[in-house]
C-alpha cells in the first residue's frame, strides 16, 4: 500500500503528515490532527456532518482522500470562531435560536451556512435551504437552523453597514 507525504494548511496552520492512500481527509483531520470538531457520520457522502471548506469551498471531507488534499487550504469548524474563547456571529446565532440539540450535524451545518454567507449577504429562505440541503439533522429539525442563518445574515449585514446608517436614530 502506498504511503504519501502531504503538507496542508488547516485553520491557518501548516501541517505535515504521512498517510496511506486510502485514508480519508476526515479521518486525517480527526485522528492525525485531533481536530475532532469535524464529525464522521455516514462516511459515504450522504449526511454532510464532515463538511469543511476546501480551498474556500464547502465539500465533504469523507469523499476526499487525505493524499488528495496535499497543498490545500482547509477550514474546519474549529477555524470559524475569531478566537478560542469566542463564537462567530453565525455560531452565536445558532446558540440563540436553539439551532442545535444533540449537535452532531452542527459542524457541517455551520460550514455550509458560513460558505453561503461568504458569497450571499442577503440569502433568501430558498437559498438557505438549498445551501444546507446536503446536511441532515435528526433532532432539532431545520426550522431553527434556517432561523439561525437568517439571524446571522441580518447581524452581519448590520455590522457591515456604514456607521451613519447604524447610528442614524441618534440624529433624529
Amino acid at each position: 500500500m502506498s504511503q504519501h507525504s502531504i503538507t496542508l494548511t488547516v485553520n491557518g496552520r501548516v501541517y505535515n503528515g504521512t498517510v496511506p492512500a486510502r485514508l480519508t481527509l476526515v479521518d486525517f483531520l480527526r485522528e492525525h490532527l485531533r481536530l475532532t470538531g469535524t464529525h464522521t457520520g455516514c462516511e459515504h457522502g450522504v449526511c454532510g456532518a464532515c463538511s469543511i471548506l476546501f480551498d474556500g469551498r464547502p465539500m465533504r471531507s469523507c469523499l476526499i482522500f487525505a493524499v488528495q488534499a496535499d497543498g490545500a487550504t482547509i477550514t474546519t469548524v474549529e477555524g470559524l470562531a475569531p478566537d478560542p474563547a469566542g463564537l462567530s456571529v453565525l455560531q452565536d446565532s445558532f446558540w440563540e435560536t436553539h439551532a442545535l440539540q444533540c449537535g452532531f450535524c452542527t459542524p457541517g451545518m455551520l460550514i455550509a451556512a458560513h460558505a453561503l454567507l461568504m458569497q450571499n449577504r442577503e440569502p433568501t429562505e430558498e437559498a438557505i435551504r438549498d445551501a444546507i440541503g446536503g446536511n441532515l439533522c435528526r433532532c432539532t429539525g431545520y426550522k431553527q437552523i434556517v432561523d439561525a442563518i437568517k439571524l446571522a445574515a441580518s447581524r452581519l449585514k448590520g455590522a457591515n453597514a456604514p456607521a451613519s446608517e447604524m447610528t442614524g436614530a441618534d440624529h433624529d
Binding site: 500500500m1 502506498s2 504519501h4 496511506p20 492512500a21 486510502r22 480519508t24 479521518d27 462516511e43 459515504h44 457522502g45 454532510g48 463538511s51 476546501f54 469551498r57 464547502p58 465539500m59 465533504r60 469523507c62 469523499l63 476526499i64 482522500f65 493524499v67 488528495q68 455550509a112 460558505a115 435551504r129 438549498d130 445551501a131 440541503g133 446536503g134 446536511n135
Partner: protein, 293 residues
C-alpha cells in the same frame, strides 16, 4: 466502512494517466471528483489496486464554446459549469439540470466527466447529454476515440469505456434557432436526493408556434437515460397542444420498461415519467415563447 488498500498516483498529463491505466492491467480506476467513486470504494463495491487522480491535469479543466457547440473538459467541476455564463446562455438545459445535481458540497467537488463515467441511471448530467446528443472523447495510449452518448451508456453504472480509456471531454451541440425552449424537472423523495424519474426537453418553435424540433429525454426510469423518439416524431410539426401531448404520453408509457426498486415500482415510474415529460414539454414551450417573443 473504510476503503480497501490501494496505490495512488497523481499524473500531470493525460498521456501519463493512460500509461498508468495500461500498467494496472484492468485494475486501475480514474478518480476525478470522487463523489460517486469514493462511496463505491468505502463500501468496497469497487476494489481497484491503483487509483489515478486526474484532478491536477490542467488540460482536463475548462469550457470552450464555438458556433455550434460547447466543449467541457471532463474534470471541470459541476459548480463551475453551473456558474458559467456561457453555459447559461448557450446550454440552458445543462444549467437547469445541474441545479438538481447533488448538493452545493458535492457540486463543488464533483465533475462533469465523473458523473458521465459513473453512469448512474438517475444522473442529471447523463440525461442532458443523452437529450442533446452529446459527443464524448475518450483517450487511451492507443489513441483518441469519439462516441455519442447513445453508445456510451451501457447499463446502470456501466459505460462502453474500456479499462484503459479515460474520458477527457464532452461536446454538447448548441441549437442556434431563434426560438429555443428548455425545461428540466425531476421527482425525488427529498429535494436534491436521487431522481426517481427525471425529464428533460429542448425544442424549437417557429414564429407560428409550431414545434419544428424536439428532444425529449427520460432519466431514472430505465438503466440508462432514454429518448422518447416516438413522441418526438409524433409531436414535431404540432403546436404541442394538450390533446397531442396526452396521446403521445399514453404511447410513451406503453413503450417504457422501468426499473423497480424499494423506492418506486415500475408502474409508478411509468406514470410519473408520462406526467413529467408532459410537464417539461409545456414548460419548454412557454420558455421558447417567453424568451424570444
Amino acid at each position: 466502512m473504510k476503503a480497501a488498500e490501494f496505490d495512488y498516483a497523481r499524473p500531470a498529463t493525460i498521456e501519463e494517466a493512460c500509461r498508468l491505466l495500461d500498467g494496472a492491467a484492468g485494475d486501475g480506476k480514474i478518480i476525478a471528483g470522487g463523489q460517486t467513486l469514493v462511496p463505491l470504494l468505502v463500501m468496497r463495491l469497487a476494489r481497484p489496486t491503483l487509483v489515478i487522480d486526474i484532478n491536477r491535469i490542467a488540460a482536463l479543466q475548462g469550457i470552450a464554446a464555438n458556433d455550434d457547440g460547447v466543449t467541457i473538459q471532463a474534470a471541470t467541476r459541476q459548480a463551475d459549469v453551473l456558474a458559467d455564463a456561457t453555459i447559461h446562455e448557450r446550454l440552458p438545459l445543462l444549467t437547469k439540470g445541474l441545479r438538481l445535481v447533488g448538493h452545493p458540497q458535492t457540486r463543488n467537488r464533483g465533475t462533469i466527466g465523473g458523473s458521465l463515467a459513473n453512469a448512474d441511471p438517475s444522473a442529471e448530467i447523463c440525461l442532458v447529454a443523452r437529450t442533446l446528443d452529446a459527443e464524448l472523447t475518450a483517450r487511451s495510449s492507443g489513441g483518441t476515440r469519439k462516441l455519442m452518448m447513445s453508445e456510451f451508456c451501457a447499463g446502470a453504472m456501466t459505460t462502453s469505456l474500456t479499462a484503459e480509456e479515460c474520458l477527457t471531454a464532452i461536446r454538447f451541440p448548441v441549437w442556434t434557432e431563434k426560438r429555443v425552449g428548455t425545461a428540466f424537472t425531476e421527482m425525488s423523495i427529498r429535494q436534491s436526493d436521487f431522481a426517481l424519474v427525471a425529464a428533460a426537453c429542448q425544442l424549437v418553435l417557429d414564429d407560428g408556434g409550431v414545434c419544428r424540433k424536439l428532444a425529449l429525454g427520460i432519466g431514472g426510469v430505465e438503466a440508462s437515460p432514454v429518448r422518447a423518439t416516438a413522441a418526438e416524431a409524433r409531436l414535431t410539426g404540432t403546436r404541442l397542444e394538450a390533446g397531442d401531448v396526452d396521446a403521445a404520453m399514453d404511447e410513451l408509457q406503453q413503450t417504457l420498461q422501468p426499473l423497480a426498486d424499494v423506492h418506486a415500482s415500475a408502474d409508478y415510474r411509468r406514470r410519473v415519467a408520462g406526467a413529467l415529460v408532459a410537464r417539461v414539454i409545456a414548460e419548454a414551450r412557454n420558455d421558447a415563447m417567453r424568451v424570444h417573443a
